[in-house]
Each structure stands twice: as structure tokens, then as C-alpha cells.
């Protein structure tokens, strides 16, 4: 399980590729910031950065869970549905206060993760189909719970999560930072993290060496769903309304992009938490830059697509080297 250092002599082109693979996302962020420094008025203001960070919180939190799942060579398409589900239960129980409602929303969302995880770990269903079915069913159930209606949520404590701040730092950003630290510790410092990565490297080898593969997979999907539920709660708090029809729509795409752009290969066996944060940041800066230069939505979608392809094209080489 301890990683062996393999020295490979690479041609010069390979070396540049390695640098791009390792630091590409950071280089891209710096380039983008420099561009904005020169060409975008009012970009370098604390207020603007605060907005950027607040906007990226849901994607970042979902991407953390996605990184874990992708680390096991899986994928979780159901995250948007889980967010919708968490949002849908909030208006039902908000009367009991903030803490109970958060617990209920996380439990309900986490239930989806347990189903995902059971299908993948115990039944052996491919992650993409297992989570696809819950992506469809999850939002459907959310809409049924909410009676297909948008409900405004006016609990002051909940709204504070979305809009309040301490010393100028929004609560939602603090929550995201704490979650990033927890996941980073989990991946890099715990047995669970090592086991998760071992499964992604080779499930068969992990099984043969006696790791509790099924239990770990179950936990990983559960974690992804719990994180998505938290993102759903924060999203709802920010909007001041429970909107199960659109909340978290297509967020799985952004989350996967952030993870992959951040250097976690889709083939599993590695989880880059810092890279994932950088990936989410890069996506946010890109859309902000395009936005502030009044580039239509259509082209920002195309840009995002090109970035995904480029990132994966570069990562592709890494899998071959590995």
C-alpha cells in the first residue's frame, strides 16, 4: 500500500507534460487572475472575491465528495438529486429549529448515499447506472415531497448560514473550509483514506489483501451524499427558498469537472483534495471572467467543455505513466 517511487526517465516533452499535469490548474488560476488584474475593472476587490467564494461553495462541497468517489474509480451522478431532496425536507421541519432540520436533511440525503453505496458495493452494479437511477428518482421524490412547489424559508438562523458572516467571512465559506480540512485529513492521514485509494488502485488487490472493500465503498457513497445534502442546505439558505426543481441541477457535471481539472484521475487510485479546491476555484473564476466581460452563457458552456477535454487529455498521459 505504501507508494513506491518509480523513477522514469522522460523525454523533454514528457517533462513539460508532467509539470502541466501537476500544476496546470494552479498555473491556469494565476494566468486568469493576472488577466483579470489587467483587463477587468473592479475584479480585485474584497467584495468581488467574497461573492466568488460564496458562489463556489456548493460546487466545492459536492466536489469534495465526488473526489472521494472518483478516487475509488466510481462516479456519483445523484448529487444534484440529493441536494434537491435535502432542500425539499427543509420547509417541512424548519419549525423544529435549525439543528433538527439540518440533521433530518442530512439523514434523508444520506439515505440516498446508503442506497447508492449498497448497489455499488454489495450488488455490484456499475456506479454510473446505480447513481443515475437515484439521480432521476431523487429529484422526483424531492418534487413529490414539495408538491412541485417552491417554498420560501424564512427561518433567521437558516438564512444566516447563507447570508451571514463573521469578521467579513461568510459562514458558508467557513463551513466549506472546515469540510475541506476534514476531507483532506481523512484522505491523507487516516487508514480509511489509504484504503479508499487502494480500492481505486485495484479493487481486486484490495479485496485479496483483506480490506473491508464493501464497507469502505458504502461509506464513500454515504459521505458523498452527506456532503451533497450540506450543499443543498447551504444552497437553500442562500436562496431563502426551497427550490427542489432546479437546485443542484447539472451540479454533478461541475463537480466532476472540478475534480478532474484538479488532477484526480477518473481511473481512481488518487484523490487530490487541494487540486479539487483549485479546480472549483478555476471554474468559478472562469465563469466570473466570462460573465464580467458579458460573454453569453452559450460560450461559457462551450469554454467549460473545452477546459474539461483539455484537462482530461493532459491527465490521460498520467494514467499511462502510472
Amino acid at each position: 500500500m505504501t507508494e513506491q517511487t518509480v523513477t522514469i526517465t522522460l523525454p523533454k516533452r514528457g517533462a513539460t507534460l508532467m509539470v502541466l499535469q501537476k500544476y496546470g490548474v494552479y498555473i491556469a488560476i494565476i494566468v486568469l487572475l493576472l488577466y483579470n488584474l489587467v483587463f477587468t475593472p473592479n475584479f480585485f476587490q474584497i467584495g468581488n472575491f467574497r461573492t466568488q467564494f460564496v458562489q463556489m461553495v456548493p460546487v466545492l462541497i459536492v466536489a469534495l465528495g465526488m473526489a472521494l468517489v472518483i478516487g475509488t474509480e466510481g462516479i456519483d451522478l445523484s448529487v444534484g438529486g440529493v441536494m434537491a431532496l435535502a432542500a425539499a425536507v427543509i420547509p417541512l421541519y424548519i419549525g423544529y429549529g435549525l439543528i433538527p432540520v439540518v440533521i433530518i436533511a442530512v439523514v434523508v440525503g444520506g439515505l440516498v448515499g446508503v442506497i447508492n453505496g449498497s448497489l455499488v458495493a454489495f450488488v455490484g452494479v456499475q456506479p454510473i447506472v446505480a447513481t443515475l437511477s437515484l439521480m432521476v428518482a431523487g429529484r422526483g421524490i424531492a418534487l413529490l415531497i414539495a408538491n412541485e412547489q417552491l417554498k420560501s424559508v424564512i427561518d433567521p438562523n437558516l438564512l444566516a448560514i447563507g447570508r451571514g458572516s463573521v469578521l467579513g467571512v461568510p459562514y458558508s465559506v467557513i463551513i466549506a473550509v472546515v469540510l475541506v480540512l476534514i476531507i483532506a485529513l481523512l484522505v491523507n492521514r487516516t487508514t480509511f483514506g489509504k484504503q479508499l485509494i487502494a480500492i481505486g488502485g485495484s479493487r481486486r488487490a484490495a479485496e485479496l489483501s483483506g480490506l473491508p472493500v464493501k464497507r469502505i465503498l458504502l461509506l464513500v457513497y454515504l459521505l458523498s451524499a452527506v456532503l451533497a445534502s450540506i450543499a443543498g442546505i447551504i444552497g437553500t439558505a442562500r436562496l431563502g427558498a426551497s427550490v427542489p426543481s432546479t437546485l443542484g441541477n447539472l451540479i454533478e457535471l461541475s463537480a466532476i469537472t472540478a475534480v478532474v481539472v484538479g488532477g484526480t484521475p477518473l481511473t481512481g487510485g488518487q484523490v487530490k483534495v487541494a487540486g479539487t479546491v483549485a479546480g472549483a476555484l478555476l471554474l468559478q473564476f472562469i465563469s466570473a471572467t466570462l460573465n464580467q466581460h458579458n460573454v453569453p452563457d452559450a460560450f461559457s458552456q462551450i469554454t467549460q467543455a473545452v477546459i474539461i477535454l483539455f484537462a482530461v487529455y493532459i491527465q490521460r498521459g498520467r494514467a499511462a505513466v502510472r
Binding site: I75, I115, S133, V136, A137, N147, L253, D297, A305, I308
Partner: protein, 331 residues
């Protein structure tokens, strides 16, 4: 997974029988459930068992069926095409624009462009060796962006201007829409290609084992390239027919279509890992989803979100059964 394992020990008669039964269930499960559902529907709803309702179901199914035919080709090679919903929308918009040049413009423009998109994705998958999931995910985003770009951000809905082209989507023979006939023809032609030609066999081989196919000297990359072109063409054609049917190219159609197409293919018994499946199964899968939707509509009081819950749960059940079955089958 268990596909390469050979059964250890002597094979008993009952084991053979069990495996054969599992195989039949996997291949024809969707058709069996479909028959059961039609019987249940006919008994429960007075308006279900009527020629009118059945032609309705057939017409509604024809568009997703054409898309699902292309998807089956892709999935048989072990790939996936998430871009079909966006390509479907692009096909419709281009057909509407192209209809100002006449019926050929309305058909050729979407087919050319959507085929080219399939080609591009195929090149990235087959030759750049990128994961199909990611390539077509980017395709989903980029093509939808393209659709928005050519319709002024989605606010512009081009209308179909050619009478002959409109007739394709709206007319028919003996009360059957042309779109239904096109869809059935796609299934028939596809089935012949898959089961009776070398190319079709190569698709199964690549899906069964890519490395074995390479060693056998099959043109693996070319096979993969071809299936993505087929999928692009199918999605574009379906979009064009839908535009003809609805007299306009609506830029927002087809969102989530990839999910229902994949569901239909999987429900129809085609394995997502590739190498096994059939278009007849896909036909049954698409009809099954349409019949479920139709029955939900018959109840009337149920909201449309019930549909997504039912299809999601249904997909999960089918996949679980399939996974268990393919374990029993130990080929």
C-alpha cells in the same frame, strides 16, 4: 468481472438450465414485463386499450427510440454517449433553419453537423483514448452551448418552413406516423448490421474484450469511431423529425434525454460493460418506459414527478436483476 471466469467443477444439467433461463430473462425480460404491463393497463384503464392510445404511444416512443438505437451501438462497445440530448436539440434547430432551403436542406444540414459532432467525439474516444463518459459530457455542454449560440441564447425558436418536411413528421400511412416507420426501420437495419455483418460482430467483439479484439487484428479504433458517428446521426435525425413533428426547432428540448435513452437500453438487456445486447431489447425498453408514462397519465391525478420516481426505481431494479443474472450466467 465474472465473465472471464470459467465454471469450476462438472456442469450439471440443472446448472445449464438455470444459466439458460437467466440468459432468456436477461434478453427478453423487458418484453415480458411490457406484455404484463399492457395487460394490467388494459384491465385497469378503460381508455388504455384502444388503437388511438397505442398509436399515440408509438408516436411518442419513435423519437427516443431512434436516439436509443444509436446509444445501443455505443453501449455495445462498452462506451456511453451523454451528448445525445443536446445533439437532439441541435438537430431540431438546424432542421428548422435548413427547411428554408427545402426538404433536403432540412434533413441534410442536421445529419451533416450531428454526424460531424459524433465524428469529433469518436476521434477523441478512439484515437486520443479519452474516457467516453468525459468526452461526451463535454459534448453535452458544448453542443447545448452551440444550440444557445445559434438561437440567440435560446430565445429564438426557428419555425419549419417547408411543407414536404412538415409532412414527414406529421403525416403517415394507415394512421401510423412516418416517424414510427423510420424508428422501426432504424431498429431493423441496425439489427441486420449488428447480427449479420462483420462490422456488427466487430462491435460485439470490441465490447466483449478490447484487448482480445486488438490481438485478433480487429480495427478497434475504427469500430469505436463508427459507433459515435452512428449515435450522432441517430440523435440528429430524431431531433430533425421532432422539429418536423412540432413544426419548430425548440432549443430547450432533449434535456435529460440521454438518461432515458441509457435507461431504455439497459432495461432492454444490453449490458453497460458492452459486448452483449440487442436492438429488439432496446425497442422493448423504450416502449416499456412510454407505457409506464402513459399509464401514469391515465391515472390523471398523479403528477409528472411520479414518472421520474417510477423510472428511476424501475431502472435500479432492472440493473440489480441484471447484475445478479449475469453472475448466475458465468459464461
Amino acid at each position: 468481472m465474472s465473465v472471464i471466469e470459467t465454471s469450476a467443477g462438472p456442469t450439471t444439467d440443472s446448472q445449464v438450465r438455470r444459466e439458460r433461463f437467466a440468459g432468456v430473462l436477461q434478453g427478453y425480460g423487458a418484453a415480458i414485463v411490457l406484455v404484463i404491463l399492457v395487460v394490467v393497463g388494459s384491465v385497469s384503464f378503460p381508455t388504455f386499450f384502444s388503437l388511438n392510445n397505442f398509436t399515440n404511444i408509438a408516436t411518442q416512443s419513435s423519437f427516443p427510440l431512434i436516439v436509443a438505437v444509436g446509444m445501443t451501438f455505443v453501449i455495445l462497445t462498452g462506451g456511453i454517449d451523454l451528448s445525445v440530448g443536446s445533439v437532439f436539440a441541435l438537430g431540431g434547430v438546424l432542421a428548422a433553419y435548413g427547411s428554408s432551403l427545402g426538404v433536403w436542406g432540412a434533413l441534410l444540414l442536421p445529419l451533416l453537423v450531428c454526424g460531424a459532432i459524433g465524428l469529433l467525439q469518436g476521434l477523441l474516444v478512439a484515437y486520443a483514448k479519452m474516457a467516453p463518459f468525459i468526452v461526451t459530457l463535454a459534448g453535452l455542454l458544448a453542443v447545448r452551448g452551440l444550440v444557445l449560440a445559434i438561437t440567440a441564447g435560446g430565445s429564438n425558436t426557428p419555425l419549419v418552413k417547408d411543407a414536404t418536411f412538415s409532412a414527414i413528421g406529421q403525416g403517415g400511412v394507415f394512421g401510423i406516423h412516418w416517424t414510427v416507420i423510420v424508428a422501426i426501420a432504424a431498429v431493423a437495419v441496425g439489427t441486420v448490421v449488428l447480427t449479420r455483418t462483420r462490422g456488427g460482430q466487430a462491435i460485439f467483439a470490441v465490447g466483449g474484450s478490447e484487448s482480445a479484439s486488438t490481438f485478433m487484428g480487429l480495427p478497434v479504433a475504427r469500430v469505436k469511431l463508427t459507433v459515435y458517428i452512428v449515435s450522432g446521426l441517430c440523435a440528429g435525425l430524431a431531433g430533425a423529425l421532432n422539429a418536423s413533428y412540432s413544426s419548430s426547432g425548440v432549443p430547450t428540448v432533449g434535456v435529460g434525454l440521454e438518461l432515458s435513452a441509457i435507461s431504455a437500453v439497459v432495461i432492454g438487456g444490453t449490458l453497460l460493460v458492452g459486448g452483449r445486447g440487442s436492438l429488439v431489447g432496446t425497442l422493448a425498453g423504450v416502449l416499456l418506459l412510454s407505457v409506464i408514462q402513459n399509464m401514469i397519465n391515465q391515472v390523471g391525478s398523479l403528477s409528472s414527478s411520479v414518472q421520474s420516481v417510477v423510472s428511476g426505481v424501475f431502472l435500479a431494479i432492472v440493473v440489480v436483476i441484471q447484475t445478479v443474472l449475469s453472475r448466475t450466467q458465468r459464461l
